[in-house]
C-alpha cells in the first residue's frame, strides 16, 4: 500500500494542479493550532517558499537504526547526543532536519508508509491529531515523571496515556521596557494608565503592543481567563471536553467587551502584526509587549524584564501553556531503542539545558529549570506558566482558531457588538464540530 500513501503528501498540491492552480503554497503545511510558532518559525526560516515546494516530496527515513526528526534549532543539539547514544549501544543514530511546522504532517504520511522516523520533536497540542490518526506510540514516563514539571507531563497526557517526553514549555507573559517603566505594574489598571500616559506624552508610539493583526486568540487568552472565560471545559482529570465550549460563557463575553474597550480607548491598536510588535518594542517605541520566550532574542535592543500579566479586575490571567517534547512514532522500527534514548538520554539535565540554550524556552525537567531560573526573564515566564493551563490538544481545537480569530477581528473593526461576535463564533465552532 505504499504507492497511494506516497501521494498523500502531494494531495493538496495535486488538487490545486488539477484546477490549473499554482501549488506553491501547500495548504496542509500551514500551522493550524500551533499559533505561537506561526510567528516565530517564520522568523527563523526566511526561505519558506523553498521549504514549501519541497512539501510535495516525501521526506524519506534516513538509513539508520534510530532516526530522529527535529527542526533546525534542535538538530545540532541532538546530533552529539545521538552519536554518544549510538556509540554506547552499538547502533547508528541519524538526526534529520525537518521544518518544525512540517513534522506533524509528514509523520502522518510517512509513518504508516514505513518511511517515517522513530522519534520526532513536536508540540503537545499535536497530540489530538496524531493520536486520532494512530501514528504515535505511548511513552513510558513512569521512571522520570517525578523529575518533570507537572504541567509538562499533564500536557503530554492524552486520554489517560502519556505520549511524549517534554523538554520545554512556552507561554506568553508581559515584557516591560525597564528604562521607560522601572516598576512592575501592580494591576492591569496601573498598566493601562502607565501605557496611556507614555503614549499621551509621545514618549512611545504605542504604550502596549499586542499582536492584533491578524487577531490572535492565543495571545488574547490570558484576558479571557482573567474574566473567568475558557475555551473548553475540563473534566476532573484535566481532559478537555469538546461538548463544553466556553467562548460564549459569561466570562468570555466580558473579555470580549474588554477588548472592545481597549481598542476604543486606544490602549490597543488593531494594526499590530507580530513583526511590528517586535520592532516597536525592541526599538523603544513601546513600553509593554505581550508574547512568549521565542521573542527573547529579538527584543534585545532595549533593557527589559519579563513578568506575569498583572491581575485584571481581580482575576488572574491564565495563559495557554504549550509544551514541546519528543514523541515516538507508532511505526518506529525499534520502539525499545527509541524509548531508551528518551528516558536515559533526553530526560537529563545536560540535554534539557542544551535544548533550552538552543530554543530559549524554559526546560521541562525541574532540575534544569531550577538551573536557569536565576535568569529573571525565565523566572517571569515560569511564574506566568504556573497560573497557566495546557493548550487543549483535542482535535476539535482546530475548529476554534479560525472562528475565534474572526470574532476578534470583527470586534477590533467595530463591525459587530462584542457579545454577538463571540456568540456567533461559538455557534460557528459548534456547527463545525458536529
Amino acid at each position: 500500500m505504499r504507492t497511494w500513501r506516497s501521494w498523500l503528501a502531494v494531495l493538496p498540491a495535486a488538487a490545486l494542479v488539477l484546477t490549473a492552480c499554482d501549488p506553491g503554497d501547500d495548504p496542509a503545511e500551514e500551522p493550524v493550532t500551533e499559533e505561537p510558532d506561526l510567528d516565530e518559525e517564520a522568523e527563523e526560516e526566511p526561505d519558506d517558499a523553498e521549504v514549501d515546494e519541497e512539501a510535495a516530496d516525501d521526506v524519506v527515513r534516513a538509513d539508520a537504526d534510530l532516526v530522529i526528526w527535529a527542526d533546525d534549532l534542535r538538530t545540532p543539539v541532538l546530533e552529539p547526543f545521538g552519536d554518544e547514544f549510538g556509540d554506547q549501544n552499538e547502533v547508528n543514530v541519524t538526526v534529520q532536519e525537518v521544518p518544525f511546522d512540517d513534522i506533524r504532517d509528514r509523520l502522518i504520511t510517512a509513518g504508516p508508509a514505513g518511511e517515517g522516523p522513530d522519534i520526532i520533536i513536536g508540540a503537545h497540542d499535536w497530540l489530538g491529531e496524531l493520536v486520532a490518526n494512530g501514528v504515535i506510540a505511548t511513552v513510558d514516563l513512569a521512571g522520570v515523571e517525578g523529575e518533570l514539571e507537572d504541567i509538562a507531563v499533564e500536557a503530554f497526557t492524552f486520554e489517560g496515556q502519556t505520549y511524549g517526553l517534554p523538554y520545554a514549555t512556552e507561554n506568553v507573559a508581559l515584557y516591560r521596557n525597564t528604562d521607560l517603566v522601572p516598576e512592575v505594574p501592580g494591576s492591569w489598571d496601573e498598566l493601562e494608565e502607565t501605557a496611556t500616559a507614555l503614549q499621551d506624552d509621545d514618549e512611545v508610539q504605542q504604550g502596549l503592543v499586542w499582536p492584533t493583526e491578524p487577531a490572535d486568540p492565543y495571545h488574547n487568552y490570558p484576558v479571557v481567563t482573567a474574566y473567568g472565560g475558557y475555551v473548553f471545559g475540563q473534566t476532573d482529570d484535566g481532559t478537555y471536553d469538546p461538548s463544553d465550549l466556553g467562548i460564549d460563557s459569561d466570562g468570555a463575553i466580558e473579555a470580549a467587551q474588554k477588548f472592545d474597550e481597549l481598542i476604543t480607548t486606544g490602549v490597543l491598536s488593531p494594526d499590530i502584526s507580530y513583526d511590528l510588535m517586535v520592532d516597536l518594542f525592541s526599538g523603544g517605541d513601546a513600553a509593554f509587549a505581550v508574547t512568549g520566550p521565542w521573542a527573547l532574542g529579538d527584543m534585545e535592543g532595549v533593557p527589559f524584564e519579563v513578568t506575569p500579566i498583572p491581575d485584571i479586575e481581580g482575576g488572574t490571567p491564565e495563559p495557554f501553556v504549550g509544551v514541546q517534547g519528543f514523541m515516538i512514532s507508532a511505526f518506529a522500527e525499534n520502539e525499545l531503542l527509541a524509548q531508551t534514548f528518551l528516558t536515559d538520554f533526553m530526560a537529563t539535565e545536560e540535554a534539557q539545558i542544551e535544548l533550552f540554550e538552543a530554543g530559549t524556552r524554559p526546560p521541562a525537567l525541574t532540575a534544569a529549570l531550577e538551573q536557569v531560573a536565576d535568569d529573571p526573564n525565565f523566572e517571569g515566564f515560569a511564574e506566568a506558566a504556573a497560573d497557566g493551563v495546557p493548550m487543549p490538544a483535542i482535535p476539535e481545537m482546530a475548529s476554534v482558531w479560525d472562528a475565534w480569530t474572526n470574532a476578534y477581528e470583527l470586534i477590533y473593526e467595530g463591525a459587530q457588538e462584542p457579545e454577538e461576535a463571540f456568540s456567533d463564533a461559538a455557534d460557528q465552532i459548534r456547527t463545525l464540530i458536529d
Partner: protein, 545 residues
C-alpha cells in the same frame, strides 16, 4: 539517431507513409559522411539515455521490492522500462519515439493526480481515517497496553543462553532477580552468578548480551514476557522493565475486537471504525474506506459548507474576471506604449516591468500586507491618509484585486509585446493610407489580431485566478470576516481559500476526501467556463483564416 538531422514532421510523415521511408532517405542522403558522424554521436547519446533510464528503472524496482510495494507498481515500472528499450533500441516504431515521452509525462503529471484526486473524493480519507484496517487493528491492540498502577519497576539487562533469553532485573530496593520467560523471577542469591568487577556477566549459563547483540534480537526482546504473580513483566526500554497488560485483542475469524477487561465486543463498521455492539463506543484510530458519493452529498447538503458558499462563489467569479480583465488591459496598454519606437529607453522599461513577475509571490504578498497596514503601513504614511486597505470589506476586495494586478500584469505585458511584434507593419501602413486614426487602428487591427493570439492565455489566466490561493491567503487570509456567517468565511475568500478553511482548518482536523471533492467540483466549474470561452473565441480565429 536521426533526430539530429531532420525535423520531426518529415519523419512522422515518412514513417506513416511507408515504414522504411526514412531509412531509405537517410541512405540516399547527400552528405553520407556527416550523416554517419551525426548518427554515431546520436547513437551514443541515445545509448547513454536509455542506459540511464534503465538504471533508474532497476533502482526503482529494487527499492519497490524492498519496500513491499504493491504488485501493480512493480509491473508498471517493469513494463515501462521494457517498452522504452524496445521502442528506442528498435528500428521501427518511429512515431512512438516522439509520442512516448510526452505521453509518459502526461500520465505522470496530469492523469495520475487527476485519477488519484478522483479516487480520494470517494473515500473518507481524513484525520482519524488514514491507516489501513490491519494497521488500525495493530494500533488499537497496542494502545490498550497499559502499565498497571503501582506496578513494580525494574532496571533490566538482557541475558541469553543460546536461543533462550532472560532478563537480569533489579527492583527499587536493589534486589536482583533473573527473569526467565515461563519460569518467572528467581532471586539472584539462589543462582550461580559470575561477576566481573561488580558487573554480573553470567547467571546459570545465561550470558550478558552485548548491546549490539541485543539489537539483533530486538524483536524477541520486545515480545518477551516474564510471568510474576501480579501479571507479566516486559521491557519498556532497553534498560527498564515493568508490568504491563494488554486488554484488547482482535479475533480474525469473527472480525471482531474484544476488550477482555470490560467484556465489550467491537464490530468493524462500514465507516472504517470499530464500534461497540450497542453502538455507543467508537475506537480510535479508524481506517480509510470508500464512501461513494457521500462527500459530494455533503458539499451540497451540509449547512456548514453551504452557508456562505453562494457569496464566496460570486466573489470568486468576480475576482477571477476582474484580475484577468485588468491585468490584460494594463499589460496591453504598457505593451503598446513600449512598442512605440518613439519611447526612449524601452529596454530598461521592459526589464523593469518584469520585476513583479520575477519576485516570489510568497515574499511580495507579505510585503504588500505590511505596506497596506492601516496605522503603520508605508502606503497610508506616504499618502497621509488612513485607508483601511485590508480591514474594510470593500477596500479589502479592492486591495486583493490591486495586488493581484501588480502580480499579473507583467505576464500579460510579455504576451502582448510578443503578439504585437508579430503583427506586420504593412497592415498599419495600409490602414494609415486609408486614413485610419489611432483608435481605429487599435480597434480594427491591433485588438482583433491580438485577441486571436492571446485568447487561450486569457482563458488560462481566468482559470488560474479562479484558484489563486496564494494571493488571497497571504494578503488577507480571506478576511475581513463576514458577520453572522454559518461557518468562518471572509469577504475576500475565494472558493479555494474557503475550501481550505473547511477542509483543513476545521472539524476534527484535516478532511482530504472533502478537499478532493471540492477540487473536482471546482475543476468542473472552470472546465465549463473554458469550453464556453473557447466557443466564444472560435469566430475570432476564423478571421485569421
Amino acid at each position: 539517431m536521426s533526430t539530429t538531422t531532420s525535423p520531426p514532421d518529415t519523419e512522422l510523415h515518412g514513417s506513416a507513409s511507408g515504414g522504411t521511408g526514412v531509412d531509405a532517405r537517410l541512405r540516399t542522403g547527400e552528405h553520407p559522411l556527416s550523416r554517419v558522424a551525426d548518427s554515431l554521436s546520436g547513437l551514443l547519446v541515445k545509448l547513454v539515455l536509455v542506459a540511464a533510464f534503465n538504471a533508474l528503472g532497476i533502482f526503482m524496482l529494487v527499492r519497490m521490492a524492498s519496500l513491499d510495494a504493491p504488485w501493480y507498481g512493480l509491473v508498471m515500472t517493469l513494463v515501462t522500462t521494457i517498452a522504452l528499450n524496445v521502442i528506442y533500441l528498435g528500428k521501427r516504431n518511429l512515431p512512438l519515439k516522439y509520442l512516448i515521452p510526452g505521453t509518459l509525462f502526461l500520465l505522470v503529471f496530469q492523469a495520475w493526480p487527476f485519477v488519484y484526486t478522483f479516487f480520494i473524493a470517494f473515500t473518507n480519507y481524513s484525520t482519524g481515517q488514514i491507516l489501513t484496517q490491519d494497521q488500525a487493528i495493530e494500533r488499537i491492540e497496542q494502545l490498550s497496553v497499559t502499565t498497571l498502577p503501582d506496578a513494580p519497576r525494574f532496571d533490566a539487562v538482557p541475558f541469553a543462553d543460546g536461543d533462550d533469553l532472560a532478563l537480569l532485573l533489579s527492583d527499587q530496593q536493589g534486589q536482583e532477580f533473573l527473569g526467565v520467560p515461563d519460569d518467572g523471577l528467581v532471586p539472584l542469591q539462589e543462582l550461580e552468578v559470575v561477576r566481573d568487577a561488580d558487573q554480573v556477566v553470567e547467571v546459570e549459563g545465561y550470558e550478558r548480551l552485548s548491546l549490539g547483540a541485543a539489537q539483533d534480537r530486538i524483536d524477541e526482546l520486545t515480545e518477551m514476557r516474564v510471568p510474576i504473580e501480579a501479571g507479566e513483566v516486559q521491557l519498556v526500554s532497553l534498560t527498564t522493565a515493568t508490568l504491563r497488560e494488554q486488554t484488547r485483542f482482535y479475533d480474525p475469524e469473527t472480525d471482531r475486537l474484544i476488550d477482555e477487561a470490560t467484556g465489550t465486543t467491537y464490530v468493524a463498521s462500514e465507516r472504517g471504525r470499530f464500534v461497540s455492539e450497542d453502538g455507543t463506543e467508537t475506537l480510535t484510530p479508524g481506517w480509510r474506506v470508500v464512501v461513494g458519493w457521500e462527500n459530494f452529498a455533503e458539499v451540497f447538503t451540509n449547512e456548514a459548507i453551504r452557508g456562505p458558499f453562494g457569496r464566496v462563489l460570486v466573489w470568486t467569479y468576480a475576482f477571477a474576471f476582474l484580475s484577468t480583465f485588468l491585468t490584460f488591459a494594463v499589460g496591453l496598454g504598457i505593451a503598446i506604449t513600449l512598442n512605440d519606437a518613439r519611447v526612449k529607453g524601452r529596454k530598461f522599461y521592459r526589464l523593469a516591468m518584469i520585476i513583479p513577475y520575477a519576485l516570489p509571490t510568497f515574499m511580495t504578498a507579505l510585503i504588500w500586507r505590511g505596506m497596506m497596514n492601516r496605522s503603520f503601513g508605508v502606503l497610508n504614511d506616504m499618502l497621509g491618509v488612513a485607508v483601511p486597505w485590508l480591514n474594510d470589506p470593500n477596500w479589502a476586495r479592492f486591495s486583493v484585486v490591486l495586488v493581484n494586478l501588480w502580480f499579473g500584469f507583467p505576464y500579460m505585458f510579455l504576451i502582448c509585446t510578443a503578439a504585437l511584434q508579430s503583427i506586420p507593419d504593412d497592415v498599419y501602413e495600409a490602414a494609415s493610407i486609408d486614413g485610419a486614426g489611432g483608435w481605429q487602428r487599435f480597434h480594427g487591427i491591433t485588438l482583433p489580431l491580438l485577441l486571436i493570439a492571446t485568447a487561450p492565455v486569457l482563458v488560462a489566466t481566468f482559470a488560474f485566478n479562479f484558484n489563486n490561493f496564494n494571493v488571497v491567503y497571504l494578503l488577507t487570509g480571506g478576511n475581513p470576516p463576514i458577520v453572522g456567517a454559518a461557518t468562518p468565511a471572509g469577504h475576500t475568500d475565494i472558493l479555494i481559500s474557503y475550501t481550505y478553511r473547511i477542509a483543513f482548518e476545521s472539524g476534527g482536523g484535516q478532511n482530504f476526501g472533502l478537499g478532493a471533492t471540492v477540487a473536482i467540483l471546482t475543476f468542473v466549474l472552470v472546465a465549463v467556463m473554458a469550453v464556453l470561452s473557447f466557443r466564444w473565441i472560435r469566430p475570432l480565429e476564423e478571421i485569421n483564416e
